[in-house]
């Protein structure tokens, strides 16, 4: 599968490495590419450029990609890039990493497919404590 990963920080680079190790065609895009973070095992393509810029995304192959994960360290960048991918390029599967739980809920309401590590962690902790999940979206079983 061809996947574009936006972000070359902890989340983005880690995800790109894992997807690459599983045999996917991965393209990483970020303002600055951290080769060390990507590691020697990574055999995809890394492009330095703004993740919200349509021309940069075109260069990353967004017209043909099957999936895009917006996972930069900046929620706003992720939210905007994900909407560009969906509305302009009609990418089949778009996942958006959003750190702020309130904003995540809002954008999920607007139809984005979101991942919120904090909300997931809180759910998981509540589940472990036998308190039930904060929201019943299957992020974890309680």
């Amino acid at each position: 599968m061809h996947v574009i990963v936006l972000g070359c920080g902890g989340a983005g680079a880690g995800l790109a490495r894992a997807l690459s190790a599983q045999g996917n065609d991965v393209v990483v895009v970020d303002d600055v590419i951290d080769q060390k973070r990507l590691g020697n095992e990574f055999d995809g393509i890394a492009i330095a450029g703004s993740p919200t810029d349509e021309d940069v995304l075109r260069k990353a192959g967004i017209d043909e990609t099957q999936a895009l994960v917006a996972a930069t360290a900046d929620d706003h960048t992720n939210v905007m890039a994900a909407q560009v991918a969906r509305e302009v390029f009609h990418v089949a599967r778009v996942l958006t990493w959003i750190s702020d739980p309130d904003r995540e809920e809002f954008y999920r309401g607007l139809g984005l497919e979101t991942v919120c590590p904090i909300a997931t962690a809180v759910d998981q902790i509540l589940g472990t404590l036998g308190q039930g999940g904060r929201r019943g979206n299957g992020a974890c079983s309680s």
């Binding site: 919200t52 810029d53 706003h76 939210v79 509305e87 904003r103």
Partner: protein
């Protein structure tokens, strides 16, 4: 009317100041604490110190009562988030975003922002307007951009000099709207005679600009 501005940089500051002078209620959200104090002291408006892309901060700043919400931070990504929260969460009737990259103007409209302002595009436009290209200056004042105001100065060689407005065959989608004769602005009517040195303003559809130029300034220009 309450207007909420997110981003207290130079544009935010002058907008708040101008709106205050026309007796509107203005609120400002600014992330930098020092800048907040300056804004509050200089403007006498309520300034909320915080992140304008944060729902709680927006609520505290009165986003729920705002008629207009204007996002003026230096980052397009943040301005988009502010406007989307304003529109869909706080139901603001009108949202306006500053875009730094002119390419984002069309995108923002597509994503539900009501209006965009690009200072980059505006500056480029104003500089272009100041340059008399091909003997005509063009003022693109209508957002749709299909219709322009064109200004041209008549020279002694102009084919229309010495003739009355009614004798000129203008392109179809074009109206002469003003004439400056010896520094005095007049309204051109049928009998008005055009003179060398007159500056003439026309409202014209963009496709007819070339045709208008040929009529007023001649083929050789």
């Amino acid at each position: 009317m309450f207007i909420l501005i997110v981003g207290g940089g130079r544009i935010g500051f002058y907008l708040a100041k101008t709106l205050r002078q026309s007796d509107h209620r203005v609120g400002l959200v600014e992330r930098d604490g020092g800048r907040c104090r300056t804004l509050a002291e200089d403007l006498g408006v309520t300034v909320i110190h915080g992140d304008g892309t944060d729902i709680e901060t927006l609520r505290e700043a009165g986003a729920g009562d705002a008629k207009y919400i204007v996002a003026l931070t230096g980052r397009d990504e943040e301005n988009l988030v502010v406007c989307q929260l304003a529109k869909s969460y706080f139901k603001a009737p009108l949202t306006i975003a500053r875009v730094n990259n002119p390419k984002n103007q069309a995108l923002f409209k597509m994503l539900g922002v009501d209006a965009t302002v690009s200072s980059t595009a505006l500056a480029a436009q104003m500089i272009e307007n100041a340059l008399p290209l091909n003997g005509m200056r063009i003022f693109s004042i209508f957002q749709e951009g299909e219709v322009e105001i064109a200004e041209s100065e008549l020279t002694a060689n102009s084919p229309v000099v010495g003739r009355a407005v009614s004798q000129i065959r203008l392109p179809e989608e074009c109206v002469l709207i003003a004439l400056v004769h010896h520094g005095k602005m007049t309204f051109p009517r049928g009998p008005t005679i055009l003179n060398s040195g007159d500056r003439i303003f026309a409202l014209v559809r963009r496709q007819s600009l070339d045709a208008l130029e040929r009529v007023l300034l001649g083929e050789g220009k």
